[in-house]
């Protein structure tokens, strides 16, 4: 149908049928735009609003935003659509799916789309930390959009209650364990409040990568064909995580659900939680107590992986659609809009100059927590991403969950995951 409409529009243009009086919709370039929702808050409403604003400024382009579920659902839908010959022209997909999208020959690099100096400058305007997951082989395949890092939220009232300074979060692993002990409240067998919570359902590797980065280990190389899951420092990081629940008993046992972690925090069931900065607005709206936001504690160094989604332009888009897609992406990532998106959601505004806009400066002045993720950016590393990404991360996820549920010890589990990853990646050397 899209094809038909485009052909019609093109034919109309070619034959000169379109006159100044013709309705603009007939000549509009149409784009289907998949976007996922991964955090709390009215994201769909925001996207619809942005698209409406864009239409007002660019009547010759029609964007059809399609809410496509979680990040997982989105990559699945997009690749299924590519195979079925009905790909979207534009999508927001995890930055880590870059290799998968390249291997599937589904996307085009932005270097081929941009023209002129202004656009080249725009391509270079983002935080380098976010570009690590957006570039490979000297080309830029994704434009950072809803990007995040992991931060720690803490309940100031709980801190006060147990005699901790409510303004000072833990700075090191040892301190976090110590604070967590104080914050854990237990009556007999029943724990009514846990000290700290690091979610482990769905994509435990992302949270785990915080720990490995802080322990100064890198999980995968930049080419995406080699992993270091069995590095002793990685083993040590996992030991720390599992010890928090098994040995120290300050962290809920078993697998902790990602989706309900903010709710656990609001309910006062946990005093410190690790989750994405993308939840900032959600927490600000829903936490019934005073809370703080801090950089994650350090071991050898500070650290967090970046995360979140990039814009990708699909190969299936024709010349006009690619151009329109680029216009839209550029429009969505202007300093003003990047700032607004950050304020609306809690995602990190993706370029330094967004933080210099008046809106953002006013926002940070009134709500300093908003700047924590930005300040953590210099310590951030690329999120784990390899060829056959889903499969390789599943190997790691399974190992992490096996250890966290007490079925295996960290070292053998990670060795097994490493062997599996090497087997999968053999073809990419």
């Amino acid at each position: 149908m899209t094809f038909f409409r485009n052909t019609l529009a093109a034919a109309a243009l070619a034959t000169g049928v379109v006159t100044a009086a013709a309705p603009a919709a007939l000549a509009a370039t149409e784009l289907t735009f998949y976007y996922p929702v991964a955090v709390g808050g009215p994201i769909t409403k925001l996207i619809d609003q942005y698209v409406a604003d864009f239409h007002a400024e660019h009547p010759d382009i029609r964007i059809n935003p399609v809410y496509s579920g979680s990040y997982q659902d989105t990559i699945t839908k997009a690749l299924t659509a590519v195979r079925g010959g009905d790909a979207p022209e534009l999508a927001v997909i995890l930055s880590t799916d870059m290799f998968t999208l390249i291997d599937e020959d589904a996307i085009v690099p932005f270097d081929d789309l941009i023209q002129g100096e202004a656009q080249a400058k725009w391509l270079g305007s983002f935080y380098p930390g976010f570009m690590e997951n957006s570039q490979t082989g000297g080309k830029t395949w994704g434009i950072p959009f809803q990007r995040s890092t992991v931060v720690m939220y803490w309940n100031k009232e709980a801190f006060k209650e147990v005699g901790l300074d409510p303004e000072v979060p833990p700075q090191t692993w040892a301190e976090m364990t110590e604070f967590a002990h104080k914050l854990t409240r237990r009556e007999g067998d029943v724990t009514s409040r846990w000290g700290v919570q690091i979610p482990s359902s769905g994509f435990p590797y992302w949270l785990f990568q915080c720990l490995t980065t802080q322990n100064d280990a890198i999980l995968a190389n930049a080419e995406g064909n080699k992993t270091n899951f069995d590095d002793p420092k990685v083993v040590e990081a996992l030991q720390y995580w599992v010890d928090l629940s098994v040995k120290e008993k300050v962290h809920p046992p078993g697998i902790v659900e990602w989706g309900t972690t903010p709710k656990d925090f609001f309910e006062g069931k946990v005093a410190m939680m690790w989750t994405t900065t993308g939840n900032l607005t959600n927490v600000r709206t829903n936490a019934p107590f005073e809370f703080g936001v801090a950089m994650l504690p350090e071991k050898a160094r500070r650290g967090s992986p970046t995360g979140g989604g990039n814009f990708y332009v699909f190969k299936s888009a024709d010349e006009a659609q690619r151009k329109a897609a680029l216009t839209f992406v550029e429009w969505m990532t202007t300093p003003e809009r990047a700032a607004q998106w950050g304020i609306d959601t809690g995602y990190v505004a993706v370029r330094p100059d967004a933080w210099e806009t008046k809106a953002m400066q006013d926002y940070v002045a009134g709500f300093p927590a908003a700047a924590v993720a930005r300040d953590q950016l210099p310590h951030a590393v690329a999120e784990l991403s390899t060829h056959e990404n889903q499969r390789v991360t599943k190997a790691l996820n399974d190992a992490l969950q096996a250890v966290l549920t007490g079925a295996e010890q960290p070292e053998p589990a990670l060795k097994k995951a490493q062997a599996e990853a090497e087997r999968i990646l053999r073809a990419y050397h």
């Binding site: 998968t100 007999g188 067998d189 359902s201 078993g254 309910e267 599943k394 996820n397 399974d398 969950q401």
Partner: protein, 291 residues
Amino acid sequence: MARRMVHLYGWMLVFPAVVLLAAFTHVPAVATLWASLFTTARPNRPSRFAGLDAYRAMLDDPVFWQSLANNAVFAAATIPASVILALVMALLVNGRLRGRAAVRVAFFTPTVLPMIAVANIWLFFYTPSYGLLDQIAGLFGLPATNWLGSRETALGAVIAVAVWKEAGFFMIFYLAALQQIPQSLREAAALEGCGRWTFFRRVTLPLIMPTTLFVLINAIINAFRMIDHIIVMTRGGPDNTTSLLLFYIYEVGFKFWDTAYAAALTVVLLVILALVALGQFVILDRRTHYR
């Protein structure tokens, strides 16, 4: 001539069914078998014939074996539990019971709800600390349980959801069957001085055997087909303890994009289902009393 016309007439009558069955069942099944013999095409590596490689890889794939074992447990638990529960519920609401209509509706409601909604409701029931189950446990001073997050309870938790969802559906069939049993049989049995249990075992149960067969086949198919709640509640985790065969096929096919291997796994699923159906028709059919 007339005979040929009859033949033609017959073929014309079955034609729509044949076309539909072929297009949506037989051709895809054969195509799946065919696809499982080739490697997955990648943009830089075209598909090539690989024979039984995918099946050999399956033998070494621990996740496949675990999914198969999980599925066996899932089937062994959900099938008898949901069928027996359905029969008990049907007997209950078939009798003279106050508020019978309300009870029937209550039993049937889980069936009407979409599985995704059901799974989300149960997700809340199972939430540690403040979920419904733990709130009830808390009243008795019991500690919180991470139902979906520990390997001992996760599979049991998703089984409970499946039984809850299915029993009401099967109850409707049993209820219909029970209402077909003529009142005269009951009266005759009463005259003979036969007790309620004997009547149930000797009269009711044989008479509803065709329904039981139908329900059993459905229960088995569902045991291999229901994965919506897995996707919503656990995504196969923790560490594959709730990964069922079809869920694993979905993962391999649509997350890893290894379509050839997914096809091979699908063939295994087809073979299992075909064997089960065959066994049921051959063995149970003989013992089933059709009127």
